[in-house]
């Protein structure tokens, strides 16, 4: 077997900050975020694209960081759960999730909050069906789905505020 490729230099833009890293080809974005950048808010669960726990926003779109190679993330704008709150102020979505108890063990919460944020940026007044459709790839093992949907309904009745 031929010698495998070594590390390659990449520049990543995560939560508005630029990082220069040297990564091997098989390293996923999830591994970079958690191990190299110590942004452990992004969770690993199934590792095969079934659960949505590792969701991050790349150029504003929710994607699975466990199935994204770090080398494929050059020049892309990556947002993790740590990048939502600005200067310690939680976003409206995060506040309402807390207030409405839409967090139980919290393992799926970063992915759900990011997917919700992306949904509300793309669709100003999503229907219940659209909310459930946007979150269908997020497995909550505490089965706290109703509280999550209720929290998003509350965000909508409050009038969605983009906290930027």
């Amino acid at each position: 077997m031929k010698k495998k490729q070594g590390r390659q230099l990449i520049e990543l833009a995560v939560n508005g900050e630029a990082y220069e890293l040297a990564e091997e080809p098989q390293v996923t974005l999830l591994e970079v975020l958690r191990n190299d950048l110590e942004l452990t808010g992004t969770k690993e669960s199934c590792g095969t694209g079934e659960c949505g726990a590792c969701t991050v926003l790349i150029d504003g779109e929710p994607v699975l960081s466990c199935l994204t190679l770090a080398l494929d993330c050059r020049d892309l704008d990556i947002l993790t759960i740590e990048g939502l709150a600005k200067g310690g102020d939680l976003t409206h979505v995060q506040e309402i999730f807390l207030e409405r108890g839409a967090v139980q063990c919290g393992f799926c919460t970063p992915g759900v909050v990011l997917a919700t944020t992306a949904l509300l940026k793309a669709t100003s007044r999503p229907t219940d069906y659209e909310i459930k459709k946007a979150l269908e790839g997020h497995l909550c093992r505490c089965t706290g789905y109703n509280k999550i949907v209720e929290a998003i309904d509350k965000v909508l009745t409050d009038g969605y505020l983009v906290n930027e």
Binding site: Q26, T48, L67, T68, L69, K133
Partner: protein
């Protein structure tokens, strides 16, 4: 879970990918969205030496070709197909099917071509084997089947949702390699063999997808059954197209394709023939469902029995046909 080591190449065009695949021979693998290949690599089911990434490569927009066909790039993400008004107007069945693939995140990543080229699946095959199963199954190069213990061959099932829709739309695909291209009907892409479901050689990729336009009254519907929505693959899927005579009541031609029952999508040809030339009514649709159930024998999968899948199929086909009949209009 970690990925095995490989050499990474980035490609920005299908032509460049075809060149690279030819250069690296069987050791290379194309990755478009990565939602199919990377889990397989994590499970040790695929071990390419060279991975050619086409992630976020430039993609040509959908267009109507000179002969009226809707032409799609295989590199379009499923989300892009779902959001395309041209696709919605010219192939509403495809729009509907694409919207039901996986979760939102999967649709933002996965591509049309990747969905068509996915491997067949099975509960026993699609997991890490090192600690559970001593002997490899047929699909791993061994000689036993865990899914059907007395099976003499691989019984893995093709569970993609886009292929059944394209069967019913009578789509064609362009297959390209470094030296030549050929255009084949979508049915020709699948061998019907669980162990090796695609006809593509290691050097070949899908270049374009063509969907013929419809001139006349048409109703179509896609019906998918899964236990956990976007968290898993289809237990069953049905794509139905009813082309009608100008009176809007007589069926000129019908195409009913069932997915996730075998190693390739299956057309219910007797049911199609039975419904053609008839008025669409509760009775004729029920008769079509009965004929379809006579000709389709679902392979047990998802831990379900063939009997259960057959009962479910009855519901899904009837639902798809009723919805398609209700949508008959010029599209």
């Amino acid at each position: 879970m970690h990925l095995p080591r490989f050499t990474y190449k980035k490609s920005d065009s299908l032509e460049e990918t075809a060149q690279l695949l030819s250069r690296y021979d069987t050791g290379a693998c194309l990755m478009a969205g990565g939602t199919e290949l990377l889990p397989r690599m994590k499970y040790g089911l695929a071990m390419p030496e060279v991975l050619i990434s086409m992630k976020r490569s430039p993609v040509s927009s959908p267009k109507i070709g000179s002969d009226g066909d809707l032409v799609l790039s295989p590199l379009m993400t499923l989300r892009a197909v779902e959001g395309s008004s041209l696709v919605r107007e010219n192939a509403p069945l495809l729009s509907e099917a694409v919207g039901l693939v996986g979760s939102g995140e999967i649709r933002h990543m996965g591509t049309l071509g990747g969905n068509l080229c996915q491997e067949t699946r099975c509960l026993y095959y699609n997991q890490s084997h090192s600690f559970q199963f001593k002997k490899p199954c047929f699909k791993r190069g061994g000689d036993i089947c865990y899914s059907i213990p007395k099976g003499k061959e691989c019984w893995a099932v093709f569970m993609g949702d886009i292929a059944p829709a394209l069967y019913s739309l009578e789509a064609k695909v362009k297959i390209m390699s470094r030296d030549k291209t050929r255009i084949i009907p979508i049915e020709g892409l699948y061998r019907g063999d669980g162990k090796k479901p695609l006809i593509l050689s290691p050097h070949e990729i899908i270049g374009e997808i063509f969907i013929p336009g419809s001139n006349g009254l048409r109703g179509s519907a896609f019906s998918k059954f899964s236990f956990r929505g976007g968290l898993e693959f289809a237990v069953l899927s049905v794509a139905a197209v009813l082309d009608m005579e100008d009176d809007g009541e007589t069926c000129r031609s019908a195409r009913i394709t069932v997915g996730a029952v075998a190693a390739a999508p299956v057309r219910a040809r007797c049911a199609e023939a039975g419904i053609e030339g008839k008025n669409i009514s509760d009775r004729s649709l029920s008769e079509a469902v009965r004929q379809a159930l006579d000709e389709i024998r679902p392979v047990p999968h998802h831990g379900q029995t063939s009997g259960f899948l057959k009962e479910s199929l009855k519901v899904q086909i009837r639902h798809a046909l009723s919805v398609a009949a209700g949508r008959v209009k010029k599209d």
